[in-house]
Point group: C2
DNA sequence: TATTGTTATACTCTATAACTATA
DNA sequence: TATAGTTATAGAGTATAACAATA
Protein backbone atom coordinates (compact mmCIF):
# COMPACT_ATOMS: atom_id res chain seq x y z
CA UNK A 1 0.00 0.00 0.00
CA UNK A 2 1.12 3.60 -0.57
CA UNK A 3 3.56 4.73 2.08
CA UNK A 4 5.39 8.02 2.52
CA UNK A 5 6.04 11.12 0.42
CA UNK A 6 9.27 9.65 -0.88
CA UNK A 7 7.29 6.83 -2.44
CA UNK A 8 7.13 8.02 -6.03
CA UNK A 9 8.34 6.17 -9.08
CA UNK A 10 10.73 4.00 -7.11
CA UNK A 11 8.57 0.92 -6.79
CA UNK A 12 10.22 -0.91 -9.64
CA UNK A 13 13.74 0.33 -9.01
CA UNK A 14 14.64 -3.11 -7.72
CA UNK A 15 13.56 -4.76 -10.94
CA UNK A 16 16.61 -4.68 -13.20
CA UNK A 17 14.83 -4.95 -16.58
CA UNK A 18 12.80 -1.85 -15.74
CA UNK A 19 15.71 0.04 -14.28
CA UNK A 20 17.96 -0.70 -17.23
CA UNK A 21 15.25 0.35 -19.62
CA UNK A 22 14.69 3.67 -17.88
CA UNK A 23 18.41 4.41 -17.67
CA UNK A 24 19.00 3.45 -21.31
CA UNK A 25 16.06 5.54 -22.44
CA UNK A 26 17.14 8.69 -20.60
CA UNK A 27 20.75 8.40 -21.62
CA UNK A 28 19.94 7.64 -25.26
CA UNK A 29 17.50 10.51 -25.38
CA UNK A 30 20.11 12.99 -24.27
CA UNK A 31 22.76 11.88 -26.73
CA UNK A 32 20.19 11.46 -29.50
CA UNK A 33 19.55 15.19 -29.50
CA UNK A 34 23.08 15.69 -30.79
CA UNK A 35 22.92 13.53 -33.88
CA UNK A 36 19.26 14.15 -34.51
CA UNK A 37 18.97 17.91 -34.14
CA UNK A 38 22.38 18.67 -35.55
CA UNK A 39 22.55 16.17 -38.43
CA UNK A 40 19.06 14.72 -38.83
CA UNK A 41 20.38 11.22 -38.15
CA UNK A 42 18.62 8.23 -36.68
CA UNK A 43 20.27 5.94 -34.17
CA UNK A 44 21.38 3.37 -36.71
CA UNK A 45 22.80 6.11 -38.93
CA UNK A 46 25.01 7.28 -36.10
CA UNK A 47 26.18 3.76 -35.34
CA UNK A 48 27.05 3.03 -38.96
CA UNK A 49 28.84 6.37 -39.25
CA UNK A 50 30.75 5.57 -36.08
CA UNK A 51 32.01 2.25 -37.44
CA UNK A 52 33.05 3.70 -40.77
CA UNK A 53 34.75 6.65 -39.11
CA UNK A 54 36.57 4.54 -36.59
CA UNK A 55 37.51 1.50 -38.62
CA UNK A 56 37.74 2.88 -42.13
CA UNK A 57 36.11 1.54 -45.26
CA UNK A 58 33.91 -1.49 -44.67
CA UNK A 59 31.31 -3.46 -46.56
CA UNK A 60 27.82 -3.83 -45.14
CA UNK A 61 28.47 -7.33 -43.80
CA UNK A 62 31.43 -6.05 -41.78
CA UNK A 63 29.16 -3.53 -40.09
CA UNK A 64 26.50 -6.15 -39.48
CA UNK A 65 29.02 -8.31 -37.64
CA UNK A 66 30.94 -5.64 -35.77
CA UNK A 67 28.04 -3.44 -34.74
CA UNK A 68 25.43 -6.11 -34.05
CA UNK A 69 22.95 -4.43 -36.36
CA UNK A 70 20.70 -6.45 -38.65
CA UNK A 71 21.47 -6.21 -42.35
CA UNK A 72 18.12 -4.62 -43.16
CA UNK A 73 18.84 -1.78 -40.74
CA UNK A 74 22.34 -1.31 -42.10
CA UNK A 75 20.98 -1.25 -45.63
CA UNK A 76 18.54 1.53 -44.82
CA UNK A 77 21.05 3.54 -42.78
CA UNK A 78 23.47 3.42 -45.72
CA UNK A 79 20.75 4.77 -47.99
CA UNK A 80 20.15 7.66 -45.60
CA UNK A 81 23.83 8.45 -45.05
CA UNK A 82 24.31 8.38 -48.82
CA UNK A 83 21.45 10.83 -49.25
CA UNK A 84 23.14 13.11 -46.70
CA UNK A 85 26.32 12.89 -48.80
CA UNK A 86 28.16 11.39 -45.83
CA UNK A 87 29.25 8.26 -47.67
CA UNK A 88 29.75 6.84 -51.14
CA UNK A 89 29.78 3.27 -52.41
CA UNK A 90 32.74 1.81 -54.28
CA UNK A 91 32.67 -1.37 -56.33
CA UNK A 92 34.48 -4.47 -55.14
CA UNK A 93 36.26 -6.01 -58.10
CA UNK A 94 36.19 -9.57 -56.73
CA UNK A 95 32.50 -9.72 -55.78
CA UNK A 96 29.89 -7.63 -57.48
CA UNK A 97 27.34 -8.20 -54.70
CA UNK A 98 29.40 -6.16 -52.28
CA UNK A 99 30.22 -2.47 -52.10
CA UNK A 100 32.85 -0.71 -50.04
CA UNK A 101 31.32 2.06 -47.96
CA UNK A 102 33.54 5.11 -47.67
CA UNK A 103 32.97 8.34 -45.79
CA UNK A 104 33.10 11.59 -47.74
CA UNK A 105 34.97 14.57 -46.25
CA UNK A 106 31.61 15.79 -44.93
CA UNK A 107 31.05 12.36 -43.41
CA UNK A 108 34.47 12.45 -41.80
CA UNK A 109 33.73 15.84 -40.31
CA UNK A 110 30.40 14.64 -38.92
CA UNK A 111 32.12 11.60 -37.44
CA UNK A 112 34.86 13.71 -35.85
CA UNK A 113 32.31 16.08 -34.38
CA UNK A 114 29.93 13.42 -33.09
CA UNK A 115 32.56 11.06 -31.75
CA UNK A 116 34.12 13.87 -29.75
CA UNK A 117 30.75 14.80 -28.29
CA UNK A 118 30.02 11.14 -27.60
CA UNK A 119 33.30 10.75 -25.79
CA UNK A 120 32.72 13.82 -23.64
CA UNK A 121 29.23 12.67 -22.80
CA UNK A 122 30.47 9.22 -21.91
CA UNK A 123 33.09 10.64 -19.56
CA UNK A 124 30.44 12.78 -17.94
CA UNK A 125 28.17 9.80 -17.34
CA UNK A 126 30.94 7.83 -15.64
CA UNK A 127 32.35 10.74 -13.66
CA UNK A 128 31.20 9.56 -10.21
CA UNK A 129 32.30 5.98 -10.70
CA UNK A 130 35.73 4.74 -9.71
CA UNK A 131 37.83 3.00 -12.39
CA UNK A 132 37.54 -0.40 -10.73
CA UNK A 133 33.78 -0.07 -10.34
CA UNK A 134 33.51 1.10 -13.90
CA UNK A 135 35.30 -2.02 -15.01
CA UNK A 136 32.97 -4.23 -12.98
CA UNK A 137 29.83 -2.46 -14.16
CA UNK A 138 30.93 -2.58 -17.76
CA UNK A 139 31.61 -6.30 -17.50
CA UNK A 140 28.20 -6.80 -15.91
CA UNK A 141 26.44 -4.87 -18.68
CA UNK A 142 28.43 -6.69 -21.34
CA UNK A 143 27.33 -10.02 -19.91
CA UNK A 144 23.70 -8.89 -19.63
CA UNK A 145 23.84 -7.79 -23.26
CA UNK A 146 25.18 -11.19 -24.26
CA UNK A 147 28.12 -9.41 -25.88
CA UNK A 148 30.52 -11.82 -24.24
CA UNK A 149 29.01 -14.73 -26.19
CA UNK A 150 26.74 -14.07 -29.11
CA UNK A 151 27.39 -13.08 -32.66
CA UNK A 152 25.00 -11.99 -35.35
CA UNK A 153 24.55 -12.62 -39.09
CA UNK B 1 41.67 -0.52 -37.98
CA UNK B 2 40.48 -4.13 -37.57
CA UNK B 3 42.68 -6.05 -35.17
CA UNK B 4 42.42 -9.64 -33.95
CA UNK B 5 39.84 -12.40 -34.07
CA UNK B 6 38.42 -11.30 -30.70
CA UNK B 7 37.49 -7.97 -32.23
CA UNK B 8 33.80 -8.48 -32.82
CA UNK B 9 30.94 -6.43 -31.49
CA UNK B 10 32.97 -4.97 -28.65
CA UNK B 11 33.97 -1.70 -30.30
CA UNK B 12 31.29 0.34 -28.60
CA UNK B 13 31.39 -1.48 -25.27
CA UNK B 14 33.04 1.58 -23.75
CA UNK B 15 30.21 3.84 -24.82
CA UNK B 16 27.66 3.70 -22.02
CA UNK B 17 24.56 4.74 -24.00
CA UNK B 18 25.14 1.87 -26.43
CA UNK B 19 26.02 -0.61 -23.72
CA UNK B 20 22.97 0.25 -21.63
CA UNK B 21 20.76 -0.02 -24.66
CA UNK B 22 22.07 -3.45 -25.59
CA UNK B 23 21.78 -4.74 -22.03
CA UNK B 24 18.27 -3.32 -21.60
CA UNK B 25 17.16 -4.75 -24.92
CA UNK B 26 18.41 -8.27 -24.22
CA UNK B 27 17.08 -8.35 -20.69
CA UNK B 28 13.69 -6.91 -21.66
CA UNK B 29 13.41 -9.33 -24.54
CA UNK B 30 13.88 -12.32 -22.30
CA UNK B 31 11.34 -11.24 -19.72
CA UNK B 32 8.94 -10.03 -22.40
CA UNK B 33 8.50 -13.57 -23.61
CA UNK B 34 6.78 -14.36 -20.33
CA UNK B 35 4.07 -11.74 -20.38
CA UNK B 36 3.74 -11.72 -24.15
CA UNK B 37 3.62 -15.41 -25.01
CA UNK B 38 1.75 -16.45 -21.89
CA UNK B 39 -0.75 -13.60 -21.56
CA UNK B 40 -0.57 -11.60 -24.78
CA UNK B 41 0.45 -8.49 -22.87
CA UNK B 42 2.50 -5.54 -24.00
CA UNK B 43 5.11 -3.93 -21.79
CA UNK B 44 2.84 -1.20 -20.49
CA UNK B 45 0.12 -3.75 -19.72
CA UNK B 46 2.52 -5.63 -17.48
CA UNK B 47 3.64 -2.47 -15.71
CA UNK B 48 0.08 -1.36 -15.03
CA UNK B 49 -0.84 -4.84 -13.84
CA UNK B 50 2.18 -4.79 -11.57
CA UNK B 51 1.16 -1.54 -9.91
CA UNK B 52 -2.43 -2.62 -9.38
CA UNK B 53 -1.36 -6.00 -8.04
CA UNK B 54 1.21 -4.58 -5.71
CA UNK B 55 -0.46 -1.43 -4.47
CA UNK B 56 -4.15 -2.29 -4.75
CA UNK B 57 -6.89 -0.27 -6.40
CA UNK B 58 -5.66 2.93 -8.03
CA UNK B 59 -6.99 5.52 -10.43
CA UNK B 60 -5.17 6.15 -13.70
CA UNK B 61 -3.47 9.27 -12.40
CA UNK B 62 -1.94 7.31 -9.52
CA UNK B 63 -0.38 4.92 -11.99
CA UNK B 64 0.85 7.77 -14.16
CA UNK B 65 2.70 9.26 -11.19
CA UNK B 66 3.97 6.09 -9.56
CA UNK B 67 4.99 4.20 -12.67
CA UNK B 68 6.32 7.10 -14.76
CA UNK B 69 4.07 6.16 -17.66
CA UNK B 70 2.32 8.81 -19.74
CA UNK B 71 -1.45 9.00 -19.35
CA UNK B 72 -2.09 8.04 -22.97
CA UNK B 73 -0.16 4.81 -22.49
CA UNK B 74 -1.94 4.03 -19.24
CA UNK B 75 -5.28 4.68 -20.88
CA UNK B 76 -4.60 2.20 -23.65
CA UNK B 77 -3.13 -0.42 -21.33
CA UNK B 78 -6.27 -0.21 -19.17
CA UNK B 79 -8.41 -0.80 -22.25
CA UNK B 80 -6.38 -3.89 -23.11
CA UNK B 81 -6.33 -5.27 -19.56
CA UNK B 82 -10.09 -4.72 -19.39
CA UNK B 83 -10.55 -6.62 -22.65
CA UNK B 84 -8.51 -9.48 -21.16
CA UNK B 85 -10.89 -9.42 -18.14
CA UNK B 86 -7.95 -8.67 -15.86
CA UNK B 87 -9.46 -5.49 -14.42
CA UNK B 88 -12.74 -3.65 -13.99
CA UNK B 89 -13.50 0.04 -13.48
CA UNK B 90 -15.47 1.30 -10.50
CA UNK B 91 -17.07 4.72 -10.24
CA UNK B 92 -15.67 7.30 -7.87
CA UNK B 93 -18.61 8.99 -6.13
CA UNK B 94 -16.82 12.27 -5.53
CA UNK B 95 -15.45 12.82 -9.06
CA UNK B 96 -17.09 11.37 -12.11
CA UNK B 97 -14.02 11.91 -14.28
CA UNK B 98 -12.10 9.27 -12.36
CA UNK B 99 -12.49 5.52 -12.13
CA UNK B 100 -10.96 3.11 -9.65
CA UNK B 101 -9.13 0.32 -11.41
CA UNK B 102 -9.48 -3.02 -9.70
CA UNK B 103 -8.00 -6.39 -10.63
CA UNK B 104 -10.38 -9.29 -11.18
CA UNK B 105 -9.51 -12.70 -9.70
CA UNK B 106 -8.02 -13.59 -13.09
CA UNK B 107 -6.00 -10.38 -12.98
CA UNK B 108 -4.79 -11.22 -9.48
CA UNK B 109 -3.71 -14.65 -10.65
CA UNK B 110 -1.84 -13.20 -13.63
CA UNK B 111 -0.13 -10.69 -11.32
CA UNK B 112 0.85 -13.40 -8.85
CA UNK B 113 2.24 -15.56 -11.62
CA UNK B 114 4.12 -12.81 -13.42
CA UNK B 115 5.49 -11.10 -10.35
CA UNK B 116 6.90 -14.40 -9.10
CA UNK B 117 8.56 -15.02 -12.46
CA UNK B 118 9.82 -11.44 -12.53
CA UNK B 119 11.31 -11.82 -9.09
CA UNK B 120 13.05 -15.06 -9.98
CA UNK B 121 14.41 -13.56 -13.15
CA UNK B 122 15.64 -10.50 -11.31
CA UNK B 123 17.47 -12.64 -8.76
CA UNK B 124 19.04 -14.60 -11.57
CA UNK B 125 20.30 -11.46 -13.28
CA UNK B 126 21.95 -10.21 -10.10
CA UNK B 127 23.34 -13.56 -9.01
CA UNK B 128 27.02 -12.80 -9.65
CA UNK B 129 26.93 -9.37 -8.04
CA UNK B 130 27.71 -8.78 -4.39
CA UNK B 131 25.10 -6.95 -2.28
CA UNK B 132 27.24 -3.83 -1.91
CA UNK B 133 28.01 -3.71 -5.61
CA UNK B 134 24.35 -4.24 -6.37
CA UNK B 135 23.49 -1.29 -4.18
CA UNK B 136 26.06 0.92 -5.89
CA UNK B 137 25.05 -0.20 -9.34
CA UNK B 138 21.35 0.32 -8.64
CA UNK B 139 22.06 3.83 -7.37
CA UNK B 140 24.06 4.53 -10.52
CA UNK B 141 21.25 3.35 -12.78
CA UNK B 142 18.67 5.26 -10.74
CA UNK B 143 20.68 8.45 -11.18
CA UNK B 144 21.18 7.82 -14.91
CA UNK B 145 17.43 7.30 -15.24
CA UNK B 146 16.79 10.59 -13.46
CA UNK B 147 14.64 8.69 -10.99
CA UNK B 148 16.32 10.44 -8.08
CA UNK B 149 14.99 13.79 -9.26
CA UNK B 150 12.28 13.96 -11.86
CA UNK B 151 8.56 13.47 -11.67
CA UNK B 152 6.01 13.16 -14.40
CA UNK B 153 2.46 14.46 -15.02
C1' DT C 1 22.44 -23.77 -53.43
C1' DA C 2 24.27 -20.10 -50.53
C1' DT C 3 25.34 -15.27 -49.76
C1' DT C 4 24.89 -10.00 -50.16
C1' DG C 5 22.05 -6.64 -49.92
C1' DT C 6 17.22 -4.63 -50.80
C1' DT C 7 12.28 -4.14 -50.31
C1' DA C 8 7.91 -4.93 -48.06
C1' DT C 9 5.27 -5.48 -44.06
C1' DA C 10 3.80 -5.57 -39.42
C1' DC C 11 4.16 -4.70 -34.68
C1' DT C 12 5.82 -2.15 -30.68
C1' DC C 13 7.13 1.98 -28.44
C1' DT C 14 7.31 6.91 -27.92
C1' DA C 15 5.56 11.63 -28.23
C1' DT C 16 2.28 15.16 -28.95
C1' DA C 17 -1.92 17.51 -30.06
C1' DA C 18 -6.65 17.71 -29.80
C1' DC C 19 -10.64 16.34 -27.84
C1' DT C 20 -14.67 14.98 -24.06
C1' DA C 21 -16.59 15.34 -19.79
C1' DT C 22 -16.31 16.86 -15.73
C1' DA C 23 -14.64 19.96 -11.86
C1' DT D 1 -10.03 27.63 -16.54
C1' DA D 2 -8.05 23.38 -15.05
C1' DT D 3 -8.02 18.34 -14.66
C1' DA D 4 -8.93 13.15 -15.87
C1' DG D 5 -8.91 10.43 -19.30
C1' DT D 6 -9.52 9.31 -24.47
C1' DT D 7 -8.55 9.33 -29.37
C1' DA D 8 -5.75 10.34 -33.39
C1' DT D 9 -1.48 10.58 -35.64
C1' DA D 10 3.29 10.41 -36.69
C1' DG D 11 7.94 9.01 -36.01
C1' DA D 12 11.20 5.69 -34.60
C1' DG D 13 12.70 0.97 -33.39
C1' DT D 14 12.42 -3.98 -34.10
C1' DA D 15 11.64 -8.33 -36.57
C1' DT D 16 10.81 -11.30 -40.37
C1' DA D 17 9.80 -12.90 -44.95
C1' DA D 18 10.57 -12.58 -49.63
C1' DC D 19 13.20 -11.10 -53.27
C1' DA D 20 17.12 -9.95 -57.05
C1' DA D 21 21.67 -10.33 -58.20
C1' DT D 22 25.66 -12.74 -57.80
C1' DA D 23 28.70 -16.34 -56.13
Amino acid sequence: MPSGPEDTGMEMADFLPYLLNQAAEQVSLEFQRTYKDKYGMLRTDWRVLFHLGRYGDLIATDIVQRARIHKTKVSRAVVRLEAMRFLVRDEVSTDRRQEILRLTPAGERAYADLSRIADDYNQKLWRNITPSERKRFTAFLVSLAGMDQRRRG
